[in-house]
């Protein structure tokens, strides 16, 4: 089974989905084998969540075949607007704590 670096995964998803200005928040699972996390891009705007997962997994399966699910776990796909709601939440918490 191929090893997969974070940079390679970012490049595969960016190129194969043709992501516009993507931002990645990826980390290895505790067991240290699979990458999971979030990808934020305006390219996902207007797409339903299962369609976004189709885009991600079509890209990964095209690249890795059956190994895809052994190399990558759940990657949630956000638009910048959706992601910023979380930023507001974290900002509010930080303000409250200060």
């Amino acid at each position: 089974m191929a090893r997969l670096t974070k940079e390679t995964l970012k490049k595969i998803l960016t190129d194969k989905i043709a992501l516009s200005n993507p931002e990645f928040r990826l980390q290895k699972e505790k067991a240290g084998i699979r990458w999971t996390g979030n990808v934020i891009s305006a390219t996902f705007k207007g797409k339903r969540d299962h369609q976004r997962q189709d885009m991600i997994w079509d890209a990964l399966i095209d690249e890795f075949g059956e190994d895809a699910t052994r190399l990558v776990g759940l990657v949630l796909a956000y638009t910048p607007d959706e992601w910023n709601l979380g930023a507001e939440s974290n900002h509010a918490k930080a303000k409250k704590a200060a």
């Binding site: 928040r25 980390q27 505790k30 999971t36 979030n38 339903r48 969540d49 299962h50 997962q53 189709d54 997994w57 699910t69 776990g73 759940l74 949630l76 956000y78 959706e82 992601w83 709601l85 979380g86 930023a87 507001e88 939440s89 974290n90 509010a92 918490k93």
Partner: protein, 153 residues
């Protein structure tokens, strides 16, 4: 079994969601529907455990069972989502999922789940199970994503 914590619920919910998508992609709708609902329960429990230390320490226990609407009520009372209306935003999706999911689905064949959804008028001749399951998955995913942003990083 060891006591469950915030991380167990959160990571478990994400793993269930990932597995649900694999089943959905293969048109295994019975399993996808059951597991997606379980992921929703898991992430709501993770939010509660994260937000109220009394659950973490065992001083409080959840009296909600597996009722997603009651879990949402607990989340609402915690106030964690108040600042940015996130609680209001997940409420509609939780209602969508809670109407269609129940704990005993874990025992049921897809044909029985199909009959239940037919009785609820969630599916019909013009609205196939594939379409309804896709929308149900989207609602669960929206809940997971909106809760997930509470964990920065």
């Amino acid at each position: 079994m060891a006591k469950m914590g915030e991380n167990d619920y959160r990571i478990g919910a994400k793993e269930r969601m990932e597995e649900a998508y694999i089943l959905l992609r293969q048109s295994r709708f019975g399993g996808a529907i059951y597991i997606t609902g379980r992921a929703t329960e898991g992430i709501l429990r993770a939010v509660i455990w994260k937000s109220d230390p009394e659950y973490r320490t065992g001083r409080k226990s959840l009296e909600t069972g597996h009722d997603l609407r009651r879990l949402l009520d607990v989340v609402g009372r915690l106030g964690i989502m108040a600042p940015n209306r996130l609680k209001d935003q997940i409420a509609g999706d939780v209602q969508h999922v809670a109407r269609l999911w129940f704990n005993d689905m874990r025992f049921l064949p897809e044909s029985r789940i199909r009959r239940e959804w037919l009785a609820l008028r969630e599916i019909s001749g013009k609205r196939p199970l594939k379409l309804a399951t896709g929308e149900y998955y989207d609602a669960c995913s929206a809940i997971l994503k909106k809760c997930e942003v509470l964990w920065p990083g």
